[in-house]
Structures are given as C-alpha cells and as structure tokens.
C-alpha cells in the first residue's frame, strides 16, 4: 500500500508540473499584449514601457514561469494586473458563489434523476418509462443557457418570484439561496437527464446479471430484487458520473454565470481572458487543475482501499 501510494504521489506531482508548464505556455502565446489592452489606443510608447516594467512583462519567459511557480509553491497566487487585488482574494470571493451553485445543482439533479431512473427501470417499456425517457431526451437536447432564459422569462419577468440575476450575498443565506435557485435549476436539469439515463441503463444491466436471477429464483419479485440487490451495485457507475458532473459544474457554469450575471469563478476567468489578465487566468486554471488532480488521487486511494487487486497490480 505504501509503495502504491508513493507511485500515485509521484505521478500526481508530475501531472501538476506538466499542467503548470502547459497552462503557462498556452496562455502566454495567446496574441494580445496585456499592457496595450489596459492603456488603450491613445497610449504613448513611454507609458506602455513604464506599465510593462511595472507588470514584469519585460522579464524573459523562463524567469516569469519560475517566479509564478515559486509563488504558487509558497501559496502566493500573485496579484491581478487589472483588479490590482491578490488573486487569492478574488478566488476566495468567487468560490462562495461557484461552489454552492455546483452543490445546489448537483443536489437537484440527483434528487430528480434517482427516482426517475429507478421508476423507468422498474417499469421498463411501460408508459412511465416511455414518458421519462422522452423527457430525458429533451433534457439532454436543450442547451442550458436557453433553458435559463426561459426560466428568467417566466419566473423573473412575468411572475416576479425571483430576480433576473445577480447574487444577494451570504449575509442573508435565504436571499443568497434564492438568487442561486434559477441558475441551479438551469444547470441541474440537463445533468439530471443524463444521470437518469445512466441510472436506468445501469439498473437494467444489473437486472440481467446472474445474481439477480438467483435472487428471483429464491422467490423475490422483480421489484424486490431491484431494490435489495440491483440498486446498490448499479450505483457505482452513477457515482462516477456524479463525480464527473461536479467538476463540470464547478468550472463549467461559465455561460450560466453570464446569463444570470453571477460573480462566480467562470465569470472571473472569462473576464480575465478578455482583459488578458494572464496571472489570474493562469493561477485560477492551475487551482482548478490542482483540485481535480487531488480529487482523482483521493479516488485512486479509495479504489485501492476497497479493491486489493488494484494494489497488487500496481
């Protein structure tokens, strides 16, 4: 187990190193001089030179890379060029919008998908199954930003139950949750549709397994077999999908954040890219990569703890 963990750890460090090099290189080659963007079209050469100097843009690339990585290692994400605020502060503000939004959406999607998937599998071929599968087809096909606009039209403009966007802040938790509700629904429904389909097909696969036939042979009804034996085993692929969806929701809320003008991580990255605030883009993307890699590392360890075969193979 120790050797396995060490190997995983080394591969984690190598992945982080590779990611940092790729992120830095890709972002630095995007055309567009950050200083020129900040100063606009009437800037004079000497002003540009002064700003580039202030921003450290005159240093050679390897030096800037080392300075950035050195900062990351000591927990310093750098200071935003345009906001003139530490990146860590920007991220810690935004994470309190993006993280709750992702969790909220994930909860909604799970609450919808589980019953829907189980009912569809239990009544395979029946009207409920057909209805649910039809709805999930629609859910997968509808783009979430379009769905978001429809929600706004109905619940914000016509019914006035919610505001059309913006974030109320956590000083008032109820108001904060309320301002995240429409975005969470818009994010959750397409995910729920996918999850329900996975749930259904995974359950159906299980129902065809030998151990279910044995259980049925011992006198359990189809439904009893499903609830007692198939469901638990069918959950493994479903949980994998939920894990993937969480990373997607955390980093992928960017369009929904635009539609509801929410101050989340996606909008931060979006604004930073168009303003060529490279240090913000680099550090935030690196942070997301770091999160995903750490989560994967934890999952690898968990697999190995559960399944001794993995340890031996490694």
């Amino acid at each position: 187990m120790i050797r396995y963990t060490l190997r995983r750890l080394i591969s984690l460090l190598l992945s982080l190193l590779a990611a940092s090099i790729i992120i830095f290189a890709v972002i630095e080659v995007i055309p567009g001089d950050p200083a020129a963007f900040m100063l606009g079209v009437n800037a004079r050469e000497d002003t540009l030179a002064a700003l580039r100097d202030q921003m450290g843009l005159n240093d050679p690339l390897p030096i800037r890379y080392l300075a950035w990585v050195g900062g990351l290692l000591t927990g310093d994400l750098g200071t935003s060029w345009t906001y003139k605020t530490p990146v860590a502060d920007l991220v810690s503000d935004r994470i309190w919008v993006s993280l709750p939004l992702a969790l909220y959406a994930l909860t909604l999607s799970t609450l919808i998908a589980f019953p829907a998937g189980i009912i569809a599998a239990a009544r395979r071929g029946g009207p409920a199954d057909l209805g649910i599968m039809g709805a999930t087809q629609l859910g997968v096909a509808i783009p979430n930003f379009w769905f978001a606009m429809i929600l706004v039209l109905i619940f914000a403009i016509n019914l006035r139950w919610f505001s059309a966007g913006g974030f109320a802040g956590w000083d008032d938790p109820l108001a904060a949750l309320k301002s995240l509700t429409l975005p969470a629904i818009a994010l959750a429904l397409p995910q729920a549709a996918i999850l329900a389909r996975v749930m259904r097909s995974s359950l159906l696969d299980m129902l065809g397994e030998d151990f279910i036939r044995t259980a049925r042979a011992k006198g359990l009804s189809r439904r009893q077999a499903l609830w007692r034996h198939a469901l638990r085993n069918a959950l493994i692929p479903v949980l994998t999908i939920i894990g993937l969806q969480f990373s997607f929701l955390l980093a992928g809320g960017i369009i929904i954040e635009q539609v509801f003008f929410l101050p989340g991580l996606g909008r931060l990255i979006f604004q930073a890219i168009s303003a060529r605030d490279l240090i913000v883009v680099e550090s935030v993307v690196m942070l997301l990569v770091f999160t995903v890699i750490i989560v994967n590392f934890a999952v690898d360890l968990a697999y190995a703890a559960v399944d001794p075969r993995l340890r031996r193979r490694a």
Partner: protein, 491 residues
C-alpha cells in the same frame, strides 16, 4: 374628540408618506465592469462611467451637452501669450477622507500624470505642460511649453481628475475623490456602491445611494430591465429591444449621441489601399443607411468625415461619398482592379463591428472586393491591428472626444501621411481664437473626407433605458460618464 385628533394625525402621516418620500437610491447597470477604480491610469471607459463627476472631479468638467465648465477651479486667467493658466480653486473643498483639496493636490495630480513613469492612458493631454507651480493654497499656475487651444477641454477628461497623494496608493480599490458621491463598496464581479458625500462643496445630490451592476450579456440585460432589477441601463446592448421599452409606460428610452465616430478603418500604406482611387471606390461602395438599419436597428447618424455631427463645427461632407456602386466599379477599373481584389476585414467584439462587418462585406462584394472576415477580441485587435498594422480593413468606433488629431500622426494604425494636414493641425493647436479654430477644423474635416482616408460610417448612438420616474439622466455621452449628481426620482 380624542378619536378625531388621532384620525387626523394618521391621515396627515399617510399624506406625507405619499408626497414627500421619493425614492433616494438607484441601481444603474452598465455593460462592463471597471477593471480597477483609478481613472488616471488605464484606458477602460467603465472606470469613468462609474466615477466621473460622481466621485472624481477635475479642474474643469464636461456637462451633459459636452460643454466645458469650471470644476474644482472656479475661475482662471490666461496670459496674453496663451502660455500661462492661473487657476483659482474653489474654497472649502475636501476629499472624502476629510483632507483638504488645495493647490498642492493639483500640482501632484498633474505632475503625476505627466511623469516619466506615468501610466496615464491619455498622457498626451498633459504633454504641453512645462511646469506647475503652487502660488498659494487656492491658486495654481500652469505654464505650457507651447500654445494649446484645447487645454481647458483636456483638463475636463476623466484622466485629468484631481487626486490626493494621501490616498493614491490604494486608489485602484478605494478611490478617494472630491465628488458628490463617495465610494462605499465594490463586490468584484457583482456590484459597486456609492453613498452621498454630505460634505460636498456643490449642490447636494438628491440621491443618497447608488449601486452599479455589470451586465454584459444582451439577454441578461433585457431580463434585468424587464424585471425591474435595475432602474437604469446606460449603454443598453440590444437595440432591437428598444421599441418594446418605448411602448411600455414603465420605462423611458433616451437615445443619445456619443463621441464615437464609427469608421471602416483602412490601412493607407497597404496595397491596394495606398492608391487613392481604391479608397474612393471603397467610399462609394458603402451604403451607410443600410449599415445603420441592419447593424444598429436604425440608431446612428451618418457621417462623411471624422467629426461628431452634434459638434457646432461639424461640416456635412456626406456628398463627397454617396453610395454609388457603379462609380465604385469604374474607379476600381481606373485603378487597375477591374477584376476586384481580396483583402482582410478584422472585426472587434462590439455589435457595430460584427453585425456591420457582415453587411459591409456584402456591399463590397457588389463592387468586386472580396473580404476575408476575422473576428478578434480587443486585446488581439490592439496587438494585430493597432500596434502591428497587420490588416487591410477593420471597423472601429473612435470614442475619444475631438480626436481628429489622430490623422496628423503618420504612425497611427491607419497610416495616413499628409504633410498639409499635419501642418494644419499644428496651426490648430497654436490657435486659441474660437472663430479661427472653427475655420481650421472645417478645413481639416474636408481634407480627410476628400482624401477618403477611411470609410466614414456613422456616429455611434448610446441608448439608455430607465424607469419612467427618473429625471436628470444624461442623454448624450460627451465623455464616458453616468453622472448621478443631478438625478432624482419624481413622485
């Protein structure tokens, strides 16, 4: 008896409630969030939109109609040779942190803007200043190296506001000015709040608090206004919705002028555009009204030169380049391009460029000019088009006020090099007599129109959608500003 008194008292209170309590807070939306809050470094217009006149003030200031009036300087004297300006400052002006605004702050602000390591985006405004001297706390003398007829105009820009040395270190996140509103809070990515400055030297504003929100997405903008989440949207991004707001009694729509001359910018040094006949052909190939209707839903004023039509010195030169495809084809043939040619058309993000570009490409195709359209982001546009001059055509709105002087710079990205025009601009800068200046400006407009430097398209309009009960908003945008000092709610 007792009952009756109580009833009257209640009725009186109710009456007060409906008459005297007009709303005193406002939520204003603009498209872009300011990257930081320092108007004296960085070009982002959003900084001025939020802070100009509200938080920061200069020696002079722009009014809603574009006129320049005294600001923190209550009066000035100009020496006979036009080189020395002696400003008398308003007495009793304090910054929001309580420190006194005096001549030393003016000297500090102007010297900082023109210093060697200055990062002022409009450093050129201060280029003629030779020396700033403090005479006494209320008097400051500015000596110019050469005459500059636009000096008082230049001092009204948002980049020339007066800042204090005590608060300059943190200006980017905590701006301290002298204006009628003080900065209160900025939740980055979401909103920025201002509160009334009770120690303001001038007329106290009717509003007590203002919140700015930043909504770039046109659909989100529509929803926010319709749901009345915002009271005002300045620079509303979807002109196609305006008729709907006009028809709705809850709203008022103001369509104002800007200083944005929108042009089909042409690389004058790149063949075949170095040939004046080709540029003339280009000018006749363009149907301005079709572009305004198609790209801007009818909002915009056609221009025949690089000058704002609402400016008293504007000359109508639309006749020099009427839409005439046959003439355009003939001119191209005369220039040796009877078969046409292919060039690049680079389009920055605003819809005037992206939508306008498609229409212009079709119009140019009519006369045999093929365009390869590339959509670029602003950062990319500045690098490829503006700095490296790697383009044939591009569409851009030049939003700086009174910027015809860019045609005198042969290194400016469209690379127009005409010594006569350059000499004319030198004369204009050295002239302070208003009538003589008008005459020179008319000549300047005519020269660039007749040289067909760029395709002159239209003056950009700025739509503001607001709650019908709000008064005192600026209709026009002589400079990027959402001046709330005169705004109030009726009722």
């Amino acid at each position: 008896m007792y009952m009756i008194t109580r009833l009257t008292a209640t009725a009186g209170l109710a009456l007060l409630g409906t008459t005297a309590l007009a709303q005193t807070d406002i939520t204003v939306a603009i498209q872009l969030e300011p990257p930081n809050l320092d108007p004296t470094s960085g070009a982002a217009q959003a900084i001025d939109s939020v802070l100009y006149s509200n938080v920061f003030e200069g020696l002079t200031r722009f009014m809603a109609d574009g006129s320049v009036v005294p600001g923190l300087a209550q009066s000035w004297e100009i020496s006979g040779d036009g080189l020395t300006y002696t400003f008398t400052l308003r007495p009793g002006v304090t910054f929001h942190d309580g420190t006194v605004m005096d001549a030393a702050d003016v000297k500090f602000s102007l010297d900082r803007a023109r210093a060697e390591d200055s990062t002022n985006a409009q450093k050129g405004l201060f280029a003629d200043i030779a020396e700033v001297t403090v005479i006494d706390p209320q008097t400051v003398k500015v000596r110019l190296a050469q005459q500059n007829g636009a000096f008082l105009f230049n001092m009204a820009w948002g980049d020339a506001v007066i800042v204090a040395p005590e608060s300059i270190e943190t200006i980017a996140t905590n701006p301290i000015g002298t204006g009628a509103f003080a900065f209160a809070d900025w939740v980055q990515g979401d909103r920025l709040e201002l509160t009334r400055n009770d120690a303001y030297w001038g007329t106290p504003p009717a509003l007590e608090a203002a919140t700015f929100r930043f909504i770039a997405d046109p659909t989100a903008a529509f929803a926010a206004v319709m749901a009345e989440d915002v009271d005002v949207f300045v620079g509303y991004p979807a002109p196609e919705n305006l008729p709907q707001f006009e028809a709705d009694p809850r709203f008022q729509v103001l369509v104002g002028n800007t200083e944005g001359e929108t042009i089909l910018s042409t690389n004058n040094k790149m063949p075949p555009f170095d040939n004046p006949l080709v540029r003339e052909a280009l000018a006749h190939a363009i149907d301005r009204q079709a572009i305004i209707d198609g790209a801007m839903f009818g909002y915009g004023t056609p221009i025949g030169t690089h000058f704002a039509p609402h400016n008293p010195d504007y000359v109508d030169l639309l006749d020099t380049s009427p839409h005439d495809p046959d003439r355009a084809r003939a001119l191209l043939a005369e220039a040796g391009f009877a078969e046409g040619f292919t060039t690049t058309l680079k389009l920055p993000p605003p819809s005037y460029a992206r939508r306008g570009g498609e229409i212009i490409a079709a119009q140019l195709r009519e006369v045999g000019i093929q365009t390869e359209i590339t959509n670029v982001e602003w950062a990319q546009w500045i690098e490829e088009v503006f700095t490296n001059k790697d383009f044939g055509l591009t569409i851009v709105s030049h939003t700086e006020p009174m910027d015809i002087g860019i045609y005198a710079n042969p290194d400016y990205y469209f690379q127009y090099d005409n010594p006569d025009f350059q000499a004319l601009m030198d004369r204009l800068n050295a002239t302070t007599d208003p009538a003589a200046r008008s005459d020179l400006m008319a000549q300047a407009q005519t020269i660039i129109a007749q040289d067909y430097v760029n395709g002159f398209l239209f003056q950009l309009a700025v739509p503001t959608v607001a709650n019908a009960k709000i008064n005192g908003l600026w209709t026009d945008q002589p400079t990027a500003a959402v001046d709330l000092t005169g705004v109030s709610w009726s009722e």
